[in-house]
Symmetry: C2
Subunit: 148 residues, 2 copies
DNA sequence: TTTAATGTAATTTTATATGTTACATGAAAA
DNA sequence: TTTTCATGTAACATATAAAATTACATTAAA
């Protein structure tokens, strides 16, 4: 089963947007993403609904940030994309009356919940500002290595 | 994205097998699983390799447990099925040279690892014996309710 | 020697995510 | 005001991976 890179994709887009001061088109973002403008619009539509980005139609239009990155956490974005289950493993739900199934699911459920809660706590602790600063550090490092 | 119910499925099969004292055919297991005998054989092949079950061909053949359930943990089974990633979310890996991608992945990676480690610790704590006992408790409860 | 089981490769089907097309809408520029 | 460039979105197509099925070899008991 493939992993879902949507959260990672969105963070990628937002951090790239933070480096520009004029609206960025879906076309440009799709090139950065190596994806498709319509796919980008679909992703961004959710973020717009949550108030993190704005879109502008027509000439000179495109997408821009609507919120200071310091005030957006990974948890915010996670919630904006619909809080998808974080755990890849799931429960059989073939015969809910089956007592074996109930026993197995009961044991797995509490472990899954704990792990999800931990992950969400970490997500609440990380702002997009931090990620952006991390990027800038890497950028400077790369420049210094180039010079040397 | 769908969740992977393989671990749950296998636990289900093993617990059902524990209730029988003669070999169970793939056909029977596939009915319990609402799946297919060949799929069952594929799943069981991994468990046999790990030494948890035995198979017998021909008349009266089928699958049986090779190890005391008290000595098998959820972690053992998880490892036997190839230690698949436990976290549904993944990293973009479109442009590994991209510093934005690196910054994002770095932040996600440590959180994912923490959550995976927690889940695995829980898996080590739970034996199939415990699950089986839980099932028998539920079974007795159901009988008592029926009588009353 | 027939029947019943597993073992496994090859193929088909299905589900889902992703990508694409088409066209409506809106806004700026010519 | 008309053209161009952008988003918005529904409908459709494609790609990919998981699951199921088919086919047939192997093995063992009746």
């Amino acid at each position: 089963m493939k992993t879902d890179t949507r959260l990672s994709d969105i963070l990628h887009i937002l951090l790239h947007m933070a480096e520009r001061d004029s609206p960025v088109t879906s076309e440009t973002l799709s090139q950065i993403m190596r994806s498709n403008p319509v796919v980008v619009r679909r992703i961004m539509a959710g973020l717009r609904k949550a108030g993190y980005v704005r879109s502008k139609k027509g000439h000179g239009g495109g997408w821009s940030l609507a919120t200071d990155l310091a005030h957006i956490t990974l948890a915010d974005i996670y919630i904006a994309i619909g809080s998808p289950s974080l755990i890849k493993l799931g429960f059989r739900n073939v015969a809910p009356g089956c007592l074996v199934e109930q026993a197995v699911n009961g044991a797995l459920e509490s472990s899954f919940r704990e792990a999800e809660a931990l992950l969400l706590r970490r997500f609440h602790e990380i702002t997009l500002k931090q990620l952006s600063e991390d990027f800038h550090l890497r950028f400077e490092d790369a420049r210094n290595i180039e010079k040397a």
